[in-house]
Subunit: 431 residues, 2 copies
C-alpha cells in the first residue's frame, strides 16, 4: 500500500460536506480500490463556526483557501468554492503552479477559463479534473474522455439543469405557468432565491461548454455560446407541443456541422419518442453520438451532496491510482479556438406560435411571409373562436430551413398588423 | 510524445477488424489523446487468407496466437479469439506471465476464470482490461470501476443481450411466437445459427458475472449463477404483461440482500414506466444503484464491430495513458468468494399464469394452494369461455413473498387436476 493521498477541501457547502462524508464513510473501501488511503488533511471555508452535516473540526483549518496550495501535506486540492474568479481562481492557479493537481466542481470557472487552466496544469505536469462540474453524479466526463476516447464525437445533447427540467416537467404535468412553478420550486428548495443562473440557461451553458470541449477538442468559450432560458415558455406552447407529439426540454447541444461546431443552450421541442423526452424532474441526461459507438445515453442525478460528492471522489481516486489524462481530452495546446458556428447558419425545423386577429386573410398574410423567406410549412393548427374578439393562436411547424431564413420570416410576420403578440418560436430537434 | 504502444491483435473477426479500423482510422487523434501512438504490430487468426474488411497483410502474421505474448515489439495483447479455454486462455496466461497487459472482449473466459486471471495479472504487475466484454460500446466497466468508485453499489440491473431484447421486442410488437421470431432473427443475422448462448441466457450471465464482480467485489463465478432464458416466453404472457402494466425483459441482476448477493439472469416483468422498459430492440442498458450517487442509467449498442471496437480502443488508450486499476475494482486477493444468495431466499412479487378447466371451484382450489403457502394475491385476471372446453387462463400477480413459499404454492397448484398445463411464472422486478 502506497502513502496516503493528502486531500485539502476548499469550500464546505453541500458538495464539500458530501465529498467528506464519502471519503470518511468509505475509507477502507476506497483505500482498497485505490491502493492507498485518501486522507482529508486540511479544509477551508468562509466560516469555521457554521453547523455542518460532517464534523470538520478534526481537520486543520485554513482561513485563507489559497494557503492550502502551499501546505506540505496537501497532495491534491479540491476546489468547491465556486465562482468564475475570486478565491476559486486564485486557489486553482496557486495549486497548479505549486505542482499539485486540482479537482473541482466549478463549471463557471472552467467554462470561462478552462483553456488557461488546462495549459497551466500541463505546464506544471499535473491533472485538472472536474467530473463533478458536469451533470452531477453521472460520470460523463470520464465516459467522453476515456470510455469513448476512440470516437470522433459528432453530437452531444444534454438535459443539464435539473431545476429547469423540474419546472418544465411540473408545468406540463399540471398545466401551470412558469412563474407559479418557479415560486413553488423556490419554496421547496429546488430553485435558488436568485434563479437566473438556472432558468436563464447559464448553468446549463457552463456544463455544455465543458462537454463541447471534451467532445470536439475546442477550448471552452462560454462567451461565444448561444444561450436562451425557459422564462418565455408558456403553458399554451407546452400544450401545443403535446398535441403535435413533442415535449419541450431545455437542451445543451454541441454538434459538428459543415459551418463549424454549434454550441447552444435553448428550449427545444423533441419527439415524445426520443429517450431524452422521458427524462423528467431533476434528473440530468447526456446523449452522445460517436462515429464508432453510435448513440449512448447516460442518465442520473444532476445535483445533490452525495451524487456530486460521488463525482469528486471519482476524480480523487483517479489521482490516487495515478491516472493522467489531458483536462479536455487532448493536450491544451491542441485545443481549437472555440468559435461556434453562427446561429444564422443553423439548419433545422421550427415551431411557430402566433396570436392573431380572428378574421379572413390572416393566414394568407402569414403564409406569404413564410413563402417569401423560402420557409416551408410542415403542419398547422388554427382554431377560430368566433364569439370573441380575443386573438386566437395559429401554430405551425416548418420543414428544415436555416435560422437566417426563419428569422427573416419571423420579422416579417411580427410586423403584420393582424399579429397581436410577439411571435413565439422553438427549435425542433429530432436527435 | 512517448514511444508508441505496440499492439498485437489475436482474432480477426468482427470485433478484431472493428478495433483495427478505429486504430488506423483515428491514428492521429488517438496519439494526441494518449500522448503516444497506438501501433498494431502483429496479428493472429485461424486463417490468413480470409477476406476481411480491413487490410491485415501490413501487420506481422503469427500462426500461433500464443507466440504474440513473446514478441519483443508487443506491449499489449488484445485477445479477441473467444471461448472460455483453448487458445484464448493460453494466450492470456502467456501474456500476463510475460508481464504484458491484456485487453479482452472475452466474457466467457472472465466469467469462468476472472479471479485466476486477475491474480495472475497482479502477480505480474500488469493490467487485465475488458470494457468490451460487457454491454458492447457502453463504457460501463469504467463507469462502475472508476466513475462510481466512491459508491457501495447496492444493485446492478442490465439488459445485457441484444438478441433476446430484439426477440422480446418483436414478439410484443407483432404478437408473434418465440420460435417464429427467432427464425427470422437468424435469417437477418441478428441471432446465431446455434442460438443457445443468447436465448438460454448464458451470454447475459457471462456479462452479469463481471458486473457483479466489479459492483460487489466478488470473484466472477458463472457456475453459481441462476440462469433462465427466454424460450418459454409465450405471446399470451407478453399480452397479459401489457394488460397488467408491465413489460417482459431478460434481465441480469446483481443485488445485495440480507441473505447475500443475488446474481441471476431470467425474464422479468418490469413496470412499463421503468426506464429499462423503454429499452427496445438490440440496445443494451445497465442501471446502477449506488449508495452515494443514487440511480444512474447507461444505454447504448451492445454489439457490433465499431461499438465493441470502441470499447477495446478505450482500454488500449487507458494503457497508453498509463492508467492502472485492479481488474475487478479491488485487489484480486480481496475478492470475496462468489457464493450468491440462494434463489429460495429471493423475495419479490410474482406473476403466475395457469391454464385451467373452465368449471366452478377451480379458483377456490388455486386460492387455497396460495393461502396454504402464505402467498398473498395482489391482482387477478380470469376469463371464461363458456362455449368451448379448451382450458382458460387464470393470471395472478402476488404481493412480495419468498421464492421458497412461491415454489411451494406452484408445486401444489401444478398438481391440481384442474390445471391443464405446467404453471408459468415470472418474477416481477420493481427496479
Amino acid at each position: 500500500m502506497n502513502a496516503p493521498l493528502g486531500v485539502a477541501v476548499a469550500g464546505l457547502g453541500t458538495v464539500g460536506c458530501g465529498t467528506i462524508a464519502i471519503l470518511e464513510g468509505r475509507k477502507e473501501l476506497l483505500a482498497a480500490r485505490c491502493g492507498r488511503a485518501l486522507e482529508v488533511v486540511a479544509v477551508s471555508a468562509r466560516r469555521a463556526d457554521k453547523e455542518r452535516p460532517v464534523p470538520v473540526a478534526r481537520y486543520r483549518w485554513h482561513d485563507d483557501p489559497v494557503s492550502l496550495a502551499a501546505a506540505a501535506d496537501v497532495d491534491v486540492v479540491v476546489e468547491l468554492i465556486g465562482g468564475e474568479d475570486g478565491p476559486a481562481l486564485a486557489l486553482t492557479r496557486a495549486a497548479l503552479e505549486a505542482g499539485k493537481p486540482v479537482v473541482t466542481a466549478n463549471k463557471a470557472l472552467l467554462a470561462h477559463r478552462g483553456g488557461e487552466l488546462a495549459r497551466l496544469a500541463e505546464a506544471n505536469g499535473v491533472v485538472l479534473a472536474y467530473e463533478a462540474a458536469v451533470a452531477g453524479g453521472i460520470p460523463i466526463v470520464k465516459a467522453l474522455r476515456d470510455g469513448l476516447v476512440g470516437n470522433r464525437v459528432e453530437r452531444v445533447v444534454g438535459i443539464l439543469n435539473g431545476t429547469c427540467n423540474y419546472i418544465l416537467t411540473t408545468m406540463r404535468e399540471h398545466g401551470r405557468a412558469f412563474a407559479d412553478v418557479l415560486a413553488e420550486a423556490q419554496a421547496l428548495g429546488y430553485a435558488e432565491a436568485e434563479p437566473s443562473l438556472d432558468v436563464d440557461g447559464h448553468d446549463a451553458a457552463h456544463k455544455l461548454a465543458l462537454l463541447a470541449a471534451i467532445a470536439c477538442g475546442t477550448e471552452p468559450t462560454f462567451d461565444a455560446l448561444h444561450i436562451e432560458g425557459i422564462r418565455a415558455i408558456a403553458p399554451i406552447d407546452i400544450a401545443f407541443a403535446e398535441e403535435l407529439g413533442y415535449r419541450i426540454k431545455l437542451l445543451g447541444i454541441a454538434r459538428r456541422t459543415s459551418h463549424g461546431i454549434e454550441q447552444r443552450v435553448h428550449p427545444c421541442m423533441i419527439p415524445r419518442s426520443a429517450p431524452l423526452a422521458e427524462i423528467e424532474g431533476v434528473f440530468n441526461a447526456v446523449q452522445v453520438h460517436g462515429d464508432a459507438v453510435g448513440t449512448t445515453l447516460h442518465v442520473g442525478p444532476g445535483a445533490g451532496a452525495a451524487p456530486t460528492g460521488s463525482a469528486v471522489v471519482a476524480d480523487l481516486c483517479d489521482l490516487a491510482r495515478g491516472f493522467r489524462a489531458p483536462a479536455f481530452g487532448v493536450p491544451a495546446a491542441m485545443l481549437q479556438a472555440g468559435e461556434p458556428a453562427p446561429m444564422s447558419a443553423h439548419e433545422g425545423a421550427y415551431y411557430l406560435r402566433l396570436m392573431v386577429d380572428d378574421r379572413p386573410g390572416v393566414l394568407a398574410d402569414v403564409a406569404a411571409c413564410l413563402r417569401d423567406a423560402g420557409v416551408s410549412v410542415e403542419s398547422m393548427i388554427q382554431r377560430h373562436r368566433a364569439t370573441t374578439d380575443q386573438p386566437v393562436p395559429i401554430v405551425m411547424t416548418t420543414h428544415a430551413t436555416t435560422e437566417a431564413a426563419f428569422d427573416g420570416a419571423l420579422a416579417a410576420i411580427g410586423a403584420l398588423a393582424c399579429v397581436r403578440e410577439p411571435p413565439r418560436m422553438l427549435r425542433i430537434e429530432t436527435l
